[in-house]
C-alpha cells in the first residue's frame, strides 16, 4: 500500500483533493486543495489504512520576490505555501502535504489568507498554527485560540514574510 495506490485510495476517499503530486523529490509530496485539506487530514488520521497519527511540523513558505529585478526572472507566482509533515508512529512512514494560498485574501494587503485549522485532528497543531499565524500571517479558521505565540501580543506585521519591514520603534525602543 505505497506510492500510486496510496494516492489512488486518497483520491477515492476525498475526490478532488490531490491537485499535484511529485514522487521524484527528495521528500515526495502531494499538493492538496486548501478547501479539501481538513477532510484529507481527517481521513489520513482516522480512516486511512496507515494511521498518520503524528503531525511533525507545519511550515509556511512565503514565495514572493520583493525587488522587481529578480521578480522578473522567477518562474512562480507570488503565493504562500503551507507544508504539513505527517508521520505514522505505527508503521514508521512519513508523508508531506502542501497547499498553496494567495499571499493576501482576494489580494488586498492586510487581510490574511484563510485555511481550515487541523487542531481538531491533531492537538499538536494548535501551537504550530499559532506560530505560523504569528510569523507568516495565515488565518486558521476554527482554531480554538488564534493569538500570537512568539511575538508580543500587540506586534504589527508578520516577520517571516519576505516583504516585511522592521517597525521604526516599538514602545519607545528604536527598531531601525
Amino acid at each position: 500500500m505505497r506510492g500510486a495506490d496510496f494516492v489512488g485510495q486518497l483520491e477515492a476517499a476525498v475526490p478532488g483533493a490531490v491537485v499535484e503530486r511529485n514522487f521524484e523529490a527528495i521528500d515526495p509530496w502531494l499538493e492538496i486543495a486548501p478547501e479539501k485539506l481538513l477532510e484529507t487530514c481527517r481521513w489520513l488520521k482516522h480512516s486511512c489504512e496507515i494511521r498518520f497519527d503524528g503531525l511533525q511540523c507545519i511550515t509556511a513558505v512565503d514565495w514572493c520576490e520583493p525587488d522587481p529585478k529578480k521578480a522578473a526572472k522567477v518562474s512562480w507566482e507570488p503565493h504562500t505555501e503551507l507544508v504539513y509533515h505527517l508521520w505514522s508512529t505505527t508503521s514508521r512512514v512519513s508523508l508531506v502535504l502542501k497547499t498553496n494560498l494567495p499571499r493576501w485574501k482576494n489580494d488586498e494587503p492586510g487581510c490574511l489568507p484563510e485555511v481550515a485549522s487541523v487542531t481538531s485532528v491533531w492537538r499538536g497543531a494548535d501551537w504550530h498554527e499559532r506560530e505560523v499565524y504569528d510569523l507568516s500571517g495565515v488565518h486558521f479558521v476554527g482554531h480554538p485560540d488564534l493569538r500570537r505565540i512568539l511575538c508580543p501580543e500587540d506586534w504589527e506585521g508578520y516577520p517571516l514574510r519576505k516583504d516585511y519591514e522592521m517597525p521604526l520603534e516599538y514602545h519607545g525602543m528604536r527598531g531601525r
Binding site: 500500500m1 505505497r2 506510492g3 500510486a4 496510496f6 494516492v7 503530486r21 514522487f23 521528500d27 515526495p28 509530496w29 502531494l30 489504512e49 496507515i50 494511521r51 508521520w87 505514522s88 508512529t89 505505527t90 508503521s91 514508521r92 512512514v93 512519513s94 508523508l95 508531506v96
Partner: protein, 237 residues
C-alpha cells in the same frame, strides 16, 4: 579604694528606689488597655488582629508578673497561640478589599462609647469598694506552681489546708475535665464537617493507562523497512 569612691559618687545621685514590679505592672496594663482600645478604633481588620495579639500578650505578661507562670503560659498558648491564629486565619481568608476597611458610622461610635463608659464606671466602683484591694503594696500570694494544680486535678489537694472540711471529693476535677474535652472534640469535628468545601475538586481528566500492552501501538505494516521512508515511495529506498 575604688569601691568607696564609687559608692560615694553613687550616693549623690538622686536614685529613688525604683520599684520595678510596679513599673512593669503599669507598663503591661497600659499596653493591654491601649491595644484593646486600638482594636476598637482601627478600621483595618488585620491591624485589629495585631492589636488583639498585643493586648492578650500583655495580659499574659501580667500573669507572669503576678508569679503564676502556669496561667501565664496557658494564656500565651491558648489565647495568643490558638484562638488568635484562628482569628487571623479567618481574617486572611476573608480580607478582600471590601471587608479590609470597615467604616463604622458615627452613630454606632457614640452608642458604643456610652455603653463602654457605663461598664467602666461599674467596674471601677466595685473594684474601689473592696477593702483588701485598697491598700497598696503586694499581697504575699503563694505562688501556685503547676504541680499542686496538677495534683489537685487528680484529687490530692496538697496545697489546701489539712482540715477535712474543705477537701474536695477524692475524684478531684479529672472527670469533669475529661467530659468537657470530649465535648469540645465533638464540637470541633462537627464544625469541620459542616464547613467542608461543598464543591467537589474537578476530577482530574486523566485516563490512567489501563495496561501497558494496550498502549503499545502494534506495527501495522510489517513490510516497512527498519528506517522510516515516505509513503509515496514505491519500496523503501
Amino acid at each position: 579604694m575604688t569601691e568607696c569612691l564609687f559608692s560615694a559618687m553613687l550616693a549623690q545621685l538622686p536614685l529613688a528606689a525604683v520599684d520595678w514590679h510596679g513599673l512593669f505592672f503599669l507598663l503591661f496594663a497600659a499596653i493591654a488597655c491601649g491595644a484593646a482600645v486600638m482594636v476598637v478604633l482601627t478600621d483595618n481588620v488585620v491591624r485589629m488582629a495585631l492589636h488583639l495579639v498585643l493586648s492578650l500578650g500583655a495580659t499574659a505578661g501580667l500573669f507572669f508578673l503576678a508569679g503564676s507562670e502556669f496561667v501565664g503560659a496557658m494564656q500565651l498558648m491558648i489565647y495568643v497561640g490558638g484562638t488568635l491564629v484562628l482569628l487571623v486565619f479567618g481574617v486572611m481568608l476573608t480580607a478582600q478589599t471590601q471587608l479590609v476597611a470597615l467604616k463604622t458610622p458615627a452613630g454606632d461610635k457614640v452608642l458604643a462609647g456610652i455603653l463602654g463608659a457605663a461598664l467602666f464606671a461599674v467596674l471601677v466602683q466595685s473594684a474601689v469598694s473592696i477593702e483588701a484591694w485598697r491598700r497598696p503594696g503586694l499581697a504575699e500570694v503563694a505562688a501556685p506552681t503547676a504541680t499542686p494544680l496538677g495534683m489537685a486535678l487528680v484529687g490530692v489537694r496538697v496545697d489546701a489546708g489539712d482540715s477535712e472540711s474543705d477537701r474536695r471529693p477524692p475524684s478531684g476535677y479529672l472527670l469533669p475535665f475529661e467530659i468537657v474535652s470530649v465535648h469540645l472534640l465533638v464540637v470541633l469535628v462537627g464544625a469541620a464537617y459542616l464547613a467542608r468545601a461543598k464543591r467537589r475538586r474537578t476530577p482530574r481528566t486523566v485516563e490512567l493507562v489501563a495496561s501497558v500492552e494496550s498502549s503499545q501501538p502494534s506495527r501495522v505494516d510489517a513490510g516497512a523497512s527498519e528506517s522510516a521512508s515516505s509513503v509515496l515511495v514505491e519500496t523503501g529506498r
